[in-house]
């Protein structure tokens, strides 16, 4: 680091490079934060977390008991001197006691992308609620035909304000906050939709992943999905030339079966069939495309920050990196991966899109996104980890688990200086050792059933008694 600073002084390297390097170093060294605690107010497991992108300050959490809480990640409310950690208490909490509040588990939370005045929650009670942060009331409520697994708001949209909702129903619905009604119903999936993500490059593009293993790309201005990711197509090769307008080329379909169907649909003049071909709506053509991206439910989708790639996690314990443009699998192998269960999870991606955080059973695994190397396993939860969320601007990660904890993962604190150590331990060590050995002697004399003395907090030092 000092070399880099020197080089920076000399002008050998660019200023942003050093900051990137520092940030990357910090991200690579994430560990369980010892100085920052978020005191979860939920009485059950945490299903979803999100830090607002506008300020990067408020962490929203949705839990299985139907409650939603918000934490200030910037300012601690109290300092716990015994654990020497800053404790972040919740700013607010809403649960089923609020009118129209969620009755069952909240599966997904999302801040309004423009400011923190609104947030959207989806719940297993088949409702999607739009909350007003200031008076903590439900402003809008959408009724879905089944459990809501995922809600998404486009971060870059300027011309629309649609909540994409994936639910137990096979149709993806788009709900307009402006009108308070459901505007689109996207038909194509054949099973519940667990993952819904807006593209970060195009405000009209939506990615959805379903329990039938399909990942579909939708252009919401057109009918039907325009792309179905196929796990078999991995040869990126040359990019196909941009074709002239034609109905076929407008809906590029990759699978052979659907090509045949299309052929049939549009009529094969060469074959000279007497019966007039049944004309299928061009949007519906892709509905016949049964290509799958995973051999199981698609649990999570996450586009990279530049919008060129899409990470998907499936119940077949595979995480795949897709090239958005071609719809091909990049075949990056994320090693020693284990995902299970047909439930939506939330993946984390570092702001520079270099590290992928995947919650596996009780740990979070950190991979290099591009190589698939397992860099680290972050263990600290004692139950299944459901979600992880990276702070958009700082090198910090938050993870929510079924053990009702929200853990903060941060780079290790700077090494303590000697003066501090002196302050911590003003008594000479020898004396302490003697004292403890004395205590141990006493407790031994008393017998196995020790009094309160045995349970007093101790310094984290070796405490061998002389008799050992």
């Amino acid at each position: 680091m000092w070399f880099d600073l020197k080089a920076r002084e000399l002008g050998a390297i660019r200023p942003e490079r050093i900051s990137r390097k520092v940030a990357s170093d910090r991200l690579h060294n994430l560990e369980l934060s010892s100085s920052k605690d978020i005191l979860s107010v939920h009485d059950s497991g945490i299903n979803s977390l999100q830090v607002d992108k506008t300020e990067g300050r408020y962490l929203l959490s949705g839990a299985s008991d139907g409650s939603v809480a918000c934490y200030d990640t910037l300012h601690a409310s109290t300092f716990d001197p015994t654990a020497r950690s800053y404790q972040h208490k919740h700013v607010f909490k809403v649960d089923k006691r609020v009118r129209k509040g969620h009755k069952y588990a909240v599966s997904s939370v999302q801040w309004y992308p423009v400011d923190t005045g609104l947030f959207v929650t989806g719940s297993f009670d088949t409702h999607v609620n739009v909350w007003d942060t200031n008076n903590l009331q439900v402003e809008l409520q959408y009724d879905m035909p089944g459990r809501v697994y995922s809600v998404s708001l486009s971060q870059i949209a300027t011309s629309h304000l649609l909540i994409a909702v994936g639910s137990a129903d096979s149709m993806v619905r788009l709900c307009d906050i402006a009108t308070g009604a459901c505007t689109h119903t996207l038909v194509g999936h054949r099973d519940a939709v667990l993952a819904v993500q807006w593209s970060v490059s195009s405000e009209w593009t939506l990615y959805t992943g379903s329990c039938d293993g399909a990942i579909r790309f939708w252009d919401i201005r057109r009918a039907g999905s325009y792309k179905v990711l196929d796990q078999d197509s991995s040869q990126m090769g040359r990019r196909p030339p941009v074709p002239k307008y034609s109905p076929e080329s407008e809906w590029p379909v990759t699978s052979r079966t659907s090509k045949k169907l299309l052929k049939k649909a549009f009529g094969d003049k060469k074959s000279g069939m007497s019966t007039p071909p049944k004309r299928v709506h061009p949007g519906m053509a892709s509905a016949q495309n049964y290509a799958t991206a995973h051999n199981g439910a698609v649990k999570a989708l996450l586009p990279t920050n530049d919008g060129h790639f899409l990470v998907s996690a499936g119940a077949d314990s595979r995480v795949k990196l897709w090239d958005v443009e071609s719809g091909c699998d990049t075949l990056v192998n994320y090693e020693r991966m284990r995902l299970s269960g047909n439930r939506a999870t939330q993946l984390g991606l570092s702001p520079d899109s270099s590290l992928l955080f995947i919650p596996t059973s009780t740990a979070i695994k950190v991979y290099n996104l591009w190589t698939g190397l397992l860099l680290k396993t972050l263990g600290g939860h004692y139950d299944d980890v459901n979600c992880c969320e990276l702070h958009p601007y700082e090198q910090e990660m938050y993870s929510g688990s079924s053990d009702r904890k929200i853990l903060v993962w941060s780079p290790p604190p700077p090494p303590q200086i000697d003066e501090d150590r002196e302050e911590v331990c003003p008594v000479p060590r020898r004396l302490i050792v003697n004292f403890w050995s004395h205590m141990i002697c006493q407790t031994k004399a008393k017998g196995a059933s020790a009094g309160a003395g045995e349970f007093s907090a101790r310094l984290d030092v070796d405490s061998w008694s002389d008799e050992d």
Binding site: L32, S33, S34, T82, A83, R84, T362, G379, G380, H381, Y382, D383, D403, R404, K405, L407, A450, G451, A452, E454, F455, S456, A457, R458, D460, V461, D462, S463, W464, S465, D466, E467, D468
Partner: protein
């Protein structure tokens, strides 16, 4: 070599308990052969861990534990090695091995920082292996050890969290997870300890407060109370002094006989109290037979004594205890002076009591005397009132006349219960009575004459007693089975008065009457000895009979018309008849007669009906015969022979028909048919036969149902 060193290590470990020298030596030795040491250490550690975890015991062997610790302490590599070995042991598929390795881990965890830093990153796995908190990773057998392992592990986790939780976040998280999410029950040793301590302190504080309050009140009240006690003491002293003077007077008389020489001793002792006590003793002996003003003096002394023992001494003791226990922060001086004073006072009181007791006044005597004083007697009198009916008392008074109090006393002396017992048991009372005086005897006899003889019951058990009785409030024989038992619970007397214990229960019992025998004459010449209430199953209703068994029919014809009246005239009848059984017999007789008459009437009616029916049948038969005869003449146009034989047949059939009637006719019919068929059984005349048969059938039909065509 490893073996030998192991032996040394063990010996060192054993010595280590004595002092620090042993471990120092070990370290030195380790420095000497550092190169091969690590490998050997690891082997030895493995040996130690193996031997320690292979035992079936629940505790670790002290010697091997000490050796193990000493070995681990030597270097960081040893800590690493120990951690690996123990962790491997913890993975073994046996809860006992896991348990022992957990104990070893606890030993190292609380000592070595390195060990902690090694264990904490794998803490989740550690918990999985020791607590087994996830259902898909259950603890291995044996089960009871598994339970023990879990309990111990939870205990250890709590301990570690208390000790090092602030430094290791995973520890803290694990503890919170186990406690809050999985809701494991932690022993909560620290909290319970602190809680107990707090409670103790609180209790102490409260008692101290109370004591202080008492102390302040005592401080303010003390002069008064002291004066009071002093005045009592003064009075006692005066009384004793007067008695002593009197005694001296007596002594003068005795001295004339040259009897006593105690005067010198009084002078020698000089202690006034003691002297007076001695004097009192003498006094008591001499004054016991005296009456008059001496008695008054003794009475006051007795009163004073009672006051002294029941109030002053008790309060003095109480003050003493409060003063001794109270912890005065500022008023130590005041407390001390007060304490000294109270001790003084108490000693004085005790002395005075001794003096009084020396004078022969004792608590028991005082009680008996006071009982004899009169008020107690009155109470017993009242009880007597309840006991004996008013008339009895008045009689008694009349009988005994002027000697009333002396006579009553013996009655009132035994307790009320004893009295009732005597009354009930009667004979015993007589025996008791015999022991007593003449007057008493007569009185008791009179009382006994008056007393009703009652069946023993609970109401007699506590007749007239005012005592409360202990209540059996648990309803079960088992001690403490359903909870706390209060043995001192009693039912107060006034409640008892209302309750069923004081009520006399009377049960209905039928009077025994002899059932008379049937006495009907039997074939063998005897009389029926069956005893039935109303009706003998063999000889009918039981009626009065004479010695030979003949029923006594008393005025049977005369009574029959009177049956309707009998209910009205029962009184007259009973008065006229010589005895009650006779009357009953008569009534029975009358009933029997009526029944007989009814029976006869019924029979007659039946017979009439029968005869009418018979006549009707006869007429019908005659009519049938006439019809048949006519038919037979009309249909039998076949042969003359038959026509001639008709009369004979008719003459013959006459008696038959009379005998058998219609049924006989029907029975006869087939024979005719057979005869005809036999005669006409030829092919030639089949047609004719058919027509004839048809005709015959028609005839038969006519014959069989003569009155239907």
């Amino acid at each position: 070599m490893g073996r030998r060193q192991f032996g040394n290590g063990g010996a060192d470990g054993g010595l280590a308990g004595g002092g620090t020298g042993g471990s120092g030596k070990v370290r030195k030795k380790n420095d000497e052969n550092e190169l091969g040491g690590e490998y050997d250490d690891r082997n030895r550690l493995a040996d130690l861990v193996d031997s320690a975890t292979n035992s079936p015991l629940l505790t670790l062997d002290d010697r091997s534990l000490a050796a193990f610790k000493a070995l681990v302490r030597r270097s960081e590599t040893n800590v690493h090695a120990a951690f690996e070995l123990l962790y491997d042991k913890l993975k073994k598929n046996n809860s006992q091995v896991r348990y022992l390795s957990l104990l070893l881990m606890d030993e190292l965890f609380t000592r070595s920082k390195l060990f902690r830093s090694l264990l904490v990153p794998v803490f989740e796995n550690f918990l999985l292996l020791s607590v087994g908190f996830r259902s898909d990773y259950p603890l291995p057998p044996p089960e009871e050890r598994a339970a023990l392992l879990r309990k111990k592990a939870i205990e250890i986790v709590e301990k570690w969290n208390d000790m090092y939780g602030q430094h290791y976040k995973p520890l803290r998280l694990a503890y919170e997870y186990l406690k809050k999410t999985l809701r494991f029950e932690f022993p909560n040793a620290r909290e319970t300890a602190t809680l107990a301590q707090q409670q103790r302190k609180e209790r102490e504080r409260r008692t101290q407060e109370l004591l202080k309050k008492k102390f302040t009140s005592l401080k303010s009240e003390y002069p008064e109370l002291r004066a009071e006690i002093h005045s009592t003491l003064e009075q006692i002293n005066e009384c004793v002094a007067i008695l002593a003077e009197k005694k001296n007077g007596g002594d003068d008389q005795q001295e004339q006989f040259g009897f006593d020489s105690d005067e010198d001793e009084f002078e020698e002792y000089g202690a006034r109290n003691l002297r007076s006590a001695r004097g009192e003793v003498e006094e008591q002996e001499t004054l016991a037979y005296e009456t008059g003003e001496n008695a008054a003096l003794f009475d006051t002394l007795r009163d004073l004594y009672r006051l002294l023992t029941s109030r002053h001494l008790v309060s003095a003791q109480e003050w003493l205890s409060t003063l001794m226990r109270v912890d005065p922060e500022e008023e130590r001086q005041a407390r001390d002076t007060l304490l000294r004073d109270v001790i003084d006072l108490r000693n004085k009181v005790v002395k005075a009591r001794e003096v009084c007791e020396g004078a022969g006044i004792e608590r028991t005597e005082g009680a008996s005397k006071s009982a004899a004083d009169g008020d107690a007697e009155e109470i017993i009198w009242e009880e007597g009132d309840v006991l004996i009916s008013n008339s009895a008392i008045s009689e008694l008074i009349e009988a005994s006349g002027a000697a009333e109090p002396t006579e009553v006393k013996p009655v009132s002396e035994p307790t009320a219960e004893a009295n009732t017992m005597e009354l009930e048991k009667g004979k015993q009372a007589v025996i008791n009575k015999a022991d007593e005086t003449e007057e008493d005897n007569s009185l008791k006899a009179q009382l006994l004459k008056q007393a009703p003889l009652l069946k023993w019951g609970q109401f007699l058990e506590r007749w007239g007693s005012d005592r409360a009785i202990p209540a059996n409030n648990r309803g079960l024989e088992f001690e403490n089975h359903w909870g706390k038992v209060d043995y001192d619970v009693t039912i107060p007397a006034e409640k008892l008065a209302e309750s069923s214990l004081n009520l006399r229960a009377v049960y209905y019992s039928a009077e025994k009457t002899e059932i008379p025998p049937c006495l009907a004459p039997l074939r063998n010449g005897g009389l029926c000895q069956r005893r039935d209430l109303k009706r003998c199953p063999f000889h009918g209703p039981i009626i009065p009979r004479d010695s030979t068994g003949k029923p006594l029919e008393l005025e049977k014809p005369a009574k029959l018309p009177e049956v309707s009246k009998s209910s009205e005239n029962t009184d007259e009848l009973t008065s006229t008849l010589p005895s009650e059984p006779k009357h009953e017999e008569l009534v029975q007789q009358a009933i029997a007669n009526v029944r007989q008459k009814d029976e006869e009437f019924r029979k007659k009616v039946l017979e009439d009906k029968k005869s009418v029916r018979r006549e009707r049948a006869k007429r019908a038969r005659e009519h049938n015969e006439a019809c048949l005869r006519a038919a037979a003449i009309g249909t039998t146009s076949e042969g003359l022979a038959e026509a001639f034989g008709q009369d004979v047949m008719a003459a013959e059939s006459q008696p038959k028909k009379r005998r058998g009637g219609l049924a006989a006719l029907l029975r006869k019919k087939p024979t005719v048919k057979d005869r005809l068929s036999r005669r006409l059984l030829s092919g030639r005349v089949r047609d004719a036969t058919a027509t004839q048969l048809a005709r015959d059938e028609q005839a038969a039909y006519r014959e069989s149902f003569p009155n239907q065509w």
